[in-house]
Every structure is written in structure tokens, then in C-alpha cells.
């Protein structure tokens, strides 16, 4: 009996040793590249954060389906800052210190980007933010890349179209958040573009009605109306007042959800934007087709920026090698990248390289976007 026990024990020891040896001999599963995505998926900025998330997740899926980066999968840890800068700071700290991410995609808004950019910059962790270059302090943050244009450029894009189309007196309706920031830039540019602001009216970010503000703009009889904001309400109000002037808007209000809420008022609205998915440019086709296949709908600008952020990072990781230092990864991100939304130049002073010529102008006809034959900066 003792012999049998000893034999069994010996067999067990041998089996365990064999198993351990086998485990050591097997190649270790490839360690994923762990990246944070800090987006405003709930709250007031969800209009941008949700499509950004769709673009990010789609790109992650495509990158991993192609075999990952340097043979390693891409793992994206999604966090929602609820459109709140304070929350963004704590979520960013968790991504950086607890999850040890090598880069962060996002945030969705400028306050959040400014708030966390100082930390990511000092840690040399690339931040691919869905904002344009903001306050002067951001010029020092060379590891904070900007995936969308500055509000000054958005203002210039609208004024260029107005000037080149012959509108000299424009009315402005802007909201108290995003639109206010654009207006702050726009009001100093009127003289440069030879445009007079006939009437400027503000409405609350969450307003459901801006009819009286629109009536004041109507009373000034402008050549065109610029709407700076994300709410569909002022678009409806302008048409309810039987205003026949052209309406020009920014890419932020250019979403399919928004034009659905505008109803018939969406017709003929002109957007200064980047992606007309009904008629994509050659470099946008792959993204548009993949997005439509994945989600069964057409993408717009924010989703394209989300996709681009992952593709930019994937290309940089590939170039920087398997385990790059923060400095090396930042340097690898800072290059020219042809994206679905636009051609980025992260070596440019604005850490995004956005130019007026990169804008596409669209007109809504029957709920569908049509590309206009116009390029900003081409006419004087």
C-alpha cells in the first residue's frame, strides 16, 4: 500500500513538474497595448462623445482584426466624464495611475482637455483630444494633439463662405456654451472678412425656443444667418419666422440626430464641416463603408475624428516599436497623418494642422447632405 502511495505521489509530482514546464515552454500571450478613451458619453456633450465612441470602437475592432499592432492587440479602456471637467480629471488619473495606459484618446471638450493636459504632458503620455487648440498654455503641450479645429478656424470657415458668396451683413444666433466660444473669436474677425454683424443674439444652451432672438435677427434684415450651437431649436425658429436668408452653421450641429429634430427646417442649411458620408472623398470611403457596415447608418464628423484618433495612435505605435518610452511615442505621434476627417499635421503649431482648405461645405436637401462646390480660401 505504501509503495502504491509513493508511486502515486511521484506520478503527481512528475505531472505537476511537466505541466509547469509546458507552461514555461508555451509562448506568452501577446500583452495588449492598453489605451484609455476618456469621452463625454453622457451629459450635454454626449452629442459629440457618443459618435466619437462609435468611431473609436470601430477603429479598435478593425486594427485588431488586422492582427493588432506589432503583433499585439489594442485594448481600449473606455471612461465617461459625464461632460464634467472635474470628473475628467479623476477618470484621467485612474487611467494613468491605476491602469497605466500608454495614451489617452479624448476628452470631448476644451475644459477637460486643458484640465488633464498638464498631467499627461508632464507624464509624456500622448493625449489625442477632440478639441481645437485652446488657451496659450496649450501651445507648450507638445504631447497634446488636437483632432478637431480651433473655434477661431471654425469662425473663419463660416466667414469665408459668407464673404465669398457675397453676404456682407450677417445675423448671428449663438448658444451660451460652444457657440459663445466661437462668437468670441468671430467678433474680432468681421473687419478682416469685410462682414458686418447686423444683429447678434444669444440663447441658452438647453433652450427649446429662440423665436424672439431670431425675430430680432430678422428685424435687422441680414443677408445670411450664422447659427453657432448644437441645438436644433434656432434652426426651426428661423424657418417658422419665414426667414428666407441662407443659414450657415458649424460642424457641431451637423449630425443626423440633429437634422431629424430640425424637421423641414433643415432644408438648405449649409454646414462648414469635413465629412459628407453620402458622397465621401476617396480617403474617407474605407471609414464610411466600415461604419455603415458596423452600425447600419452613415457617420458624421465626430465619428470620423474618433476613428482617426485610434488610427493615428496605431501608426505611431507601429513606428515607435514594441515598448516605446513616453517621449518616443509622443515624437511618433507628431507627424503628418491622412485621416478620414482631414489631413492632420501634428507638427504644426496648433498640434493638429487644420487649414481652411480642409473644410468641406455641405447643403442639406431632403434630409441628405450634398457636397457644395466650394473651397474656403479659394476666392477673394
Amino acid at each position: 500500500m505504501n509503495i502504491v502511495r509513493k508511486q502515486l505521489a511521484a506520478a503527481a509530482v512528475l505531472a505537476l513538474a511537466g505541466a509547469a514546464g509546458l507552461a514555461q515552454a508555451q509562448p506568452k500571450a501577446a500583452e495588449p497595448y492598453r489605451v484609455g478613451a476618456l469621452l463625454s458619453v453622457t451629459g450635454g456633450l454626449a452629442v459629440a462623445g457618443l459618435p466619437e465612441r462609435e468611431g473609436v470602437l470601430l477603429a479598435q475592432k478593425v486594427v485588431n482584426a488586422r492582427g493588432g499592432i506589432n503583433g499585439r492587440p489594442l485594448e481600449i479602456l473606455l471612461e465617461d466624464d459625464a461632460s464634467n471637467p472635474d470628473s475628467a480629471v479623476s477618470k484621467a488619473n485612474a487611467l494613468l495611475h491605476t491602469h497605466k495606459v500608454i495614451a489617452i484618446i479624448g476628452p470631448s471638450a476644451i475644459a477637460q482637455t486643458v484640465a488633464i493636459g498638464g498631467t499627461t504632458q508632464s507624464m509624456k503620455v500622448p493625449l489625442l483630444a477632440f478639441t481645437g487648440l485652446g488657451p496659450p498654455v496649450e501651445r507648450e503641450r507638445t504631447c497634446v494633439m488636437h483632432m478637431t479645429p480651433s473655434q477661431e478656424l471654425n469662425a473663419r470657415a463660416m466667414l469665408s463662405y459668407a464673404r465669398d458668396t457675397g453676404y456682407k451683413r450677417v445675423g448671428v444666433l449663438h448658444d451660451s456654451g460652444y457657440g459663445q466660444v466661437i462668437w468670441n473669436s468671430m467678433k474680432t474677425l468681421g473687419g478682416e472678412y469685410g462682414i458686418d454683424f447686423a444683429q447678434v443674439e444669444k440663447y441658452e444652451l438647453t433652450t427649446t425656443d429662440a423665436t424672439t432672438q431670431a425675430a430680432k435677427v430678422k428685424a435687422a434684415n441680414p443677408d445670411a444667418v450664422l447659427i453657432l450651437g448644437t441645438s436644433p431649436a434656432p434652426f426651426r425658429n428661423v424657418r417658422q419666422l419665414k426667414m428666407t436668408q441662407p443659414v450657415i452653421a458649424t460642424h457641431a450641429s451637423s449630425t443626423y440626430e440633429n437634422i431629424k429634430a430640425m424637421g423641414e427646417a433643415a432644408d438648405n442649411v449649409i454646414h462648414a464641416e469635413f465629412l459628407v458620408a453620402e458622397d465621401p472623398l476617396p480617403q474617407q470611403k474605407e471609414f464610411v463603408e466600415a461604419f455603415q457596415k458596423e452600425y447600419g447608418k452613415l457617420p458624421k464628423n465626430f465619428a470620423a475624428a474618433g476613428w482617426d484618433s485610434v488610427m493615428v495612435l496605431a501608426a505611431a505605435l507601429k513606428d515607435a516599436g514594441p515598448n516605446p518610452s513616453g517621449d518616443k511615442l509622443c515624437a511618433a505621434v507628431r507627424r503628418v497623418h491622412q485621416g478620414a476627417m482631414t489631413r492632420y499635421d501634428f507638427t504644426a503649431p496648433d498640434m493638429g494642422g487644420f487649414i481652411l482648405g480642409g473644410y468641406t461645405y455641405s447643403k442639406l436637401v431632403g434630409g441628405r447632405y450634398t457636397r457644395l462646390d466650394y473651397k474656403a480660401g479659394a476666392a477673394k
Binding site: 443674439e201 444669444k202 438647453t206 425656443d209 423665436t211 424672439t212 432672438q213 417658422q240 440626430e257
Partner: protein, 295 residues
């Protein structure tokens, strides 16, 4: 300042005033019949509007049938809230503050439910009379806004007649103002409160169906509607649907005229400051102490 602009501001103010009033009327009805301050009245509007939208789009119901479905579901959701939450809390002797907390919590719960089932998109319903506008002097009014004004006025008149001329309406008022006394005269207080929530939910749903063609509707609009409706109801004396109508009109006109008289960035500051002044001068609301008793 042109006369046309002033006319437009008045018309817009009246339209918005009736929107606020429709929510405020529902708050007043529930307070009148239960003494509960209902912080989720705007959610009934969201429920009514989204059910109507999906009844049309998913179930392919004709618009009038979809509206009936939306109003019925809104009314039923009011009744369900009474049965599941208010009734057990009443049995345990819950205070007025507890009910306020209950309705605040339920407003978030219903908004989350609307998000889960209805998605994030904003929805529009067809306007009664299409997308047309009526030109009045130098101003315009959407045809649907005229319908909204007519229906809201009819609701107020019907409620006034109901509360002053019918046994059921009088019983509902009595059950809320003196439950023990009402019980001693044979009134089933619990049933009256159930009917109050049914009525409040139905009026909220009517409000939702009526405002959606003008302002569109999504899952997170309930709280904003409740706040404006709440101001309208308090201005009107809280227990009086007719008062809520006057309160809503006062608020809508103040907001609209503030934009005409001041830079538009000061709209809420001017309108809400004037509301504070009104409440100091008329602490019982626009209709005074007598109005608080009215129907």
C-alpha cells in the same frame, strides 16, 4: 424697437406660456388632489410624446390613434406610480418631503427608462395643420401653436367644470383637503388619489403630444419642462389649474419681452428677477388667496 418685433415677442411668449401652463396644470391637478408636489410632471410629457412617436413609427398607427395611445399610457403611468409608490408610502405615514423626494427620484428613473427604450434621439411629431404658419399683423405663429393654445384652453375649462360642477371632481378635492372628513362622508380617499394621478399623468401626456411638434422631444427634456411648469403652477397658486395657465403665460411673456427690452444674454436674469418681485408682491400667486381655492 419695431412694432413687428414686439408682436412677434408677444406671440412667442404666449406660445411658450401655454407650453409651461400645460405642465403647470398637471402639477396643479396632482397637488390639488393629493397635496403632493410632483417633480416628475415633465416625465409624463416625455412618456406621452415618445409613446405617440413609437406608436406611429413602429406600430404604424394612424396619428390620432397614436395620440390616444400616448395619452392612455401617460395616464396609466400616473396610476401605476400611485399604486406602487404613493399608496404604500401613505400607509406608512410618509411626510410631504418624502413624497417630493419620491417624485424627484422617479423623474430620474423615468428619464433613464425613456433613454433605455426610446434612445437618445430627439423626435418630432407632425404639427396639427402641418408645418404652416399664420401671419398675424407683422408676426407669425405656427399653425400647431394655435392648436396648442386652443387645446390647453379647453383643458383648463374642462378641469374647472370638472372640479366645480361634478360630484367626482368635488370628491377628489375634498379627499385631498381633508382625508378624514371625506372618508366620514363615504368618499374613497385612496380611489380619489388614484384618479388624481391618472388625470395628472394624462394631462402630462397631452402636454407632451402638443409640445413635441414645436420643440421636439427626447429622454432628458422632462426636468426642464418640470421646472418651467413648476414656476407656472406656483405663480398660479399651485392648487388651481386656471392659475397655472395665468402663471405660464406670465412666465412665457416675461421671458420673451425680456429679450426685446434687454440683450438676449440677460433673458433669464430679467424674467426670473421679475418673478421674484411678483411673488413678493403677490405671495399667494397671481390669482390671490381666492385663486388658491379655485378650480
Amino acid at each position: 424697437m419695431s412694432i413687428g418685433l414686439l408682436e412677434q415677442a408677444v406671440l412667442s411668449g404666449i406660445t411658450n406660456g401655454f407650453i409651461y401652463a400645460l405642465i403647470g396644470i398637471g402639477i396643479a391637478v396632482i397637488f390639488k388632489g393629493s397635496r403632493i408636489v410632483n417633480a416628475m410632471q415633465g416625465e409624463f410629457a416625455v412618456v406621452g410624446a415618445l409613446i405617440t412617436v413609437f406608436a406611429m413609427q413602429a406600430a404604424r398607427m394612424p396619428y390620432p390613434v397614436a395620440i390616444v395611445a400616448g395619452v392612455l399610457v401617460g395616464a396609466l403611468s400616473g396610476a401605476v406610480i400611485d399604486v406602487l409608490f404613493v399608496r404604500p408610502m401613505t400607509r406608512r405615514g410618509a411626510s410631504e418631503e418624502s413624497f417630493l423626494l419620491l417624485t424627484i427620484g422617479l423623474s430620474f428613473t423615468l428619464a433613464a427608462g425613456a433613454l433605455y427604450f426610446g434612445g437618445r434621439d430627439s423626435h418630432l411629431l407632425p404639427g396639427f395643420g402641418g408645418q404652416g404658419v399664420i401671419e398675424i399683423l407683422q408676426a407669425t405663429l405656427p399653425v400647431h401653436a394655435a392648436w396648442l393654445i386652443v387645446v390647453a384652453t379647453a383643458v383648463v375649462i374642462a378641469l374647472r367644470l370638472f372640479y366645480t360642477r361634478t360630484l367626482l371632481g368635488l370628491s377628489m378635492s375634498a379627499a385631498a383637503s381633508d382625508a378624514d372628513g371625506a372618508t366620514s362622508t363615504g368618499i374613497d380617499v385612496g380611489r380619489m388619489r388614484l384618479l388624481t394621478f391618472l388625470l395628472g399623468g394624462g394631462i402630462g401626456a397631452i402636454a407632451g403630444v402638443l409640445v413635441t411638434p414645436l420643440i421636439s422631444m427626447n429622454y432628458q427634456m422632462g426636468i426642464g419642462l418640470t421646472l418651467k411648469g413648476f414656476a407656472a403652477a406656483i405663480l398660479g397658486g399651485l392648487t388651481n389649474p386656471l392659475g397655472a395657465l395665468f402663471g405660464g403665460l406670465a412666465l412665457g411673456l416675461l421671458e420673451s419681452l425680456a429679450v426685446v427690452g434687454f440683450p438676449s444674454g440677460y433673458r433669464d436674469v430679467v424674467a426670473l428677477s421679475l418673478l421674484v418681485v411678483i411673488m413678493i408682491v403677490m405671495p399667494n400667486g397671481l390669482l390671490g388667496r381666492a385663486g388658491r381655492r379655485g378650480g
